[in-house]
């Protein structure tokens, strides 16, 4: 029983982490790069209009960071719940 509820907690923590990451994912690409393009383009970011920058450079950088962040947090969760592989 103990084992089961621990696993449940682990799964919930995982789902929460995934949901958080996906919100960031959707915000930087579909949000900043597409839907909010016009208003963000009023802002200058170095030589870019900010919305355009997110669409062609910023979103990709965020994606890479997101995956590494997720991997790092998940490995941490594995340890915390004693679910590490040998």
């Amino acid at each position: 029983m103990e084992q089961k509820s621990l696993k449940k907690q682990y799964w919930h923590a995982n789902l929460k982490l995934v949901a958080g990451c996906l919100i960031v994912w959707i915000t930087v690409s579909f949000g900043f790069g597409i839907v909010l393009l016009e208003p963000l383009n009023q802002v200058r970011f170095f030589g870019f209009e900010l919305g355009f920058w997110f669409a062609q450079q910023g979103s990709i950088i965020c994606f890479i960071a997101l995956i590494f962040y997720y991997a790092w947090r998940m490995n941490h969760l594995d340890k915390k719940y004693g679910l590490e592989e040998d």
Binding site: K7, Y10, W11, N14, V18, C21, L22, W25, S29, F30, G33, I34, V35, L37, N41, F45, F46, G47, F48, E49, F52, W53, A55, Q56, Q57, S59, I60, I61, F63, I64, L66, I67, F68, Y70, A71, M74, N75, D78, L83, E84, E85
Partner: protein, 583 residues
């Protein structure tokens, strides 16, 4: 040394390298053949995934597409990288934990049904052959342009190389050659980009050059580009022409399509542990990002360079346009290939390159005495001709040829391998002959890989119309059929076989039907497409390239509703889902 000889030397050396790796990494078991023994280091797998993923289209065509699409080209940049987030967070670790060999195998076991497995095999084969034919075409084109051999001969060369390392080495051979191919292609892509960036902005890093000022001026590159292209009636580079909804749907379709492509998914079966699968996806996207962050920079700089080469002075001034007689050397070279075409419509001996489809610009063009756009530029030229435009040494040109071939071969090999494992492992071992010995299965794998190579070669030589529609087709179908089935299989215990099969078929038929309706690809007796492929005819204004996103939604909806109305999956499935959720 002469350019042709140098190109032969560089391309030949890369081939010797690939063959050497193939001999060194021969597969000895089905586990070697399907998943490279399951012990590839996550960083190495990331590199192999990057080469597997980046095709002839990424290497040769993408920068050029972006150069002429401007903001609209962002759909490819975000779509083809954003999918890796879905892959890393939602699929890769669980598929690794599942720990078997193929994607249809997962679908078959999770939905306790050979029918589901066969539907997945069909989706996989349609997607992969569409995709691989395009790669073979790319190999042939690179051969014929750089080495001046006929396309057919080029194809035979390319096929033989893939044959050796895919048939002999299976996934193991493919993985190690892909690592070498990644190094070749990224080096070949970066070197010309650095030189172009230096020439145009003075910054050696293309990614920074993209946001820098133009050499010797105070204007930023993108501002300058907007000014130069709008003066010729083109839409501003940083503005889009597609509707927001369409951009949204195309990006979404490419993302879920990426996450559902079997040859990418299977790469995550090759790492030793679940945590390796997580990091591996990060490494893969980092290596992909090196090229994908360079491409938009190259695109914008090349567009500026090209436009200013033609429009040398004030727009409309009598001597503002380049005289055809004074065209540079690279112009002549690429005219021969048909990638650049000049037609002196107003007979003034000068080249006018402008947007003659823009009604607001028509009056001005007429007052200049211009009689229509005179230059047709194939987007592929942006990457292929870059080294010559930037006056780089000949070894760089030879390197670009080797890079293009590496990109095409690595993707082709990955695709051929998933086709062969779907046939030998899913159809033969899984459904038709469950008691086949491992040695025979391995032999069947090699034979089906060999046949797949030959079929792909033929499709490359006689490309059917659908090959040009890889984007709509392969991605749309992968996203609308496989992605939802796998995702639901992991995150829901309730979705059952009836739901999954109904969902996959709905997604497949709807997406295929929509694309067929506007493009008329497979049914030649229908003559032309049923309806003209223009925004007015599209469902909610969504183009065939973006319809996979709607297909995926339908798949999800149907799968969930049908599952609710039919019996729960058996308890073993509950256990399987529990098993894959925890590392």
């Amino acid at each position: 040394m002469e350019l042709k000889a140098l190109t032969y030397l560089v391309v030949g050396a890369s081939f010797v390298l690939y063959i050497g790796i193939a001999i060194w990494s021969k597969a000895n078991s089905t586990k070697d053949f399907y998943v490279a023994g399951g012990n590839i280091h996550p960083l190495a797998n990331g590199m192999a995934t990057a080469a597997d993923w980046m095709s002839a289209a990424s290497f040769i065509s993408m920068a050029g597409l972006i150069a002429f699409l401007g903001y609209d080209g962002s759909v490819y940049l975000m779509g083809w990288t954003g999918g890796y987030v879905l892959l890393a967070l939602l699929l890769a670790p669980y598929l690794r934990k599942f720990g078997k060999f193929t994607v249809p195998e997962f679908i078959g076991e999770r939905y306790y049904s050979n029918t589901a497995r066969i539907v997945a095999v069909i989706c996989l084969i349609v997607i992969s052959f569409t995709y691989v034919a395009g790669q073979m075409r790319g190999v042939g084109i690179v051969f014929s342009r750089f080495l001046e051999v006929p396309i057919g001969l080029g194809l035979i060369f390319g096929m033989s190389i893939v044959f050796v390392y895919a048939v002999l080495g299976g996934m193991k051979g493919v993985t190690y050659t892909q690592i070498a191919q990644y190094c070749v292609l990224i080096f070949a892509y970066t070197v010309p980009a650095v030189f172009i960036a230096l020439q145009i902005t003075g910054s050696p890093v293309p990614q920074f050059a993209f946001g820098s000022t133009v050499q010797g001026e105070s204007m930023y590159l993108l501002e300058k580009l907007d000014e130069v292209v709008t003066a010729l009636g083109f839409p501003a580079y940083t503005d889009g022409t597609k509707s927001t909804l369409d951009v949204f749907c195309i990006t979404a379709a490419l993302m879920i399509g990426t996450a559902g492509l079997p040859h990418v998914l299977v790469r995550f079966f090759t790492v030793p542990k679940v945590r390796d699968a997580r990091y591996s996806a990060g490494w893969a996207l980092l290596f992909i990002g090196l090229l994908y962050l360079t491409a938009p920079a190259v695109g914008s700089m090349a567009r500026l360079n090209l436009t200013q080469t033609i429009q040398t002075g004030t727009v409309g001034a009598e001597t503002g346009n380049l005289a055809y007689e004074e065209r540079p050397e690279w112009f002549k070279t690429w005219e021969k290939t048909g990638l650049l075409q000049f037609n002196d419509r107003n007979g003034d001996g000068r080249i006018q390159y402008y947007n003659d489809q823009n009604p607001d610009f028509a009056n001005r063009a007429e007052s200049f005495g211009w009689n229509g756009n005179e230059l047709v530029v194939d987007p592929d030229i942006i990457v292929l001709a870059n080294p010559e435009i930037a006056l780089l040494p000949q070894w760089v040109i030879a390197l670009v040829a080797a890079g293009g071939i590496a990109a095409a071969l690595s993707t082709a090999a990955g695709l051929l391998l998933v086709i062969s494992s779907a046939i030998s492992h899913d159809l033969l071992k899984g459904v038709l002959m469950p008691h086949i010995s491992e040695r025979k299965e391995l032999l069947a794998g090699r034979i089906s890989a060999a046949i797949a190579v030959i079929v792909a070669g033929f499709l490359g030589y006689y490309p059917p119309a659908f090959v040009a529609q890889v984007v709509a087709f392969a991605f749309g179908l992968a996203g609308a059929s496989l992605f939802p089935a796998i995702l639901l299989g992991i995150f829901s215990k309730r979705v059952n076989k009836e739901g999954a099969i109904a969902g996959m078929i709905t997604g497949l038929v709807f997406t295929y039907g929509y694309i067929e309706y506007f493009k008329g690809l497979f049914l030649p007796w229908a003559g032309a497409p049923w309806a003209e492929n223009v925004a007015e005819n599209w469902l909610f204004g969504i183009s065939p390239e973006g319809i996979g996103a709607v297909g995926a939604l339908l798949n999800f909806g149907v799968a969930i509703i049908v599952s609710q109305m039919t019996a729960k999956p058996p308890p073993e499935v509950d256990e399987l889902v529990e098993y894959i959720r925890y590392p």
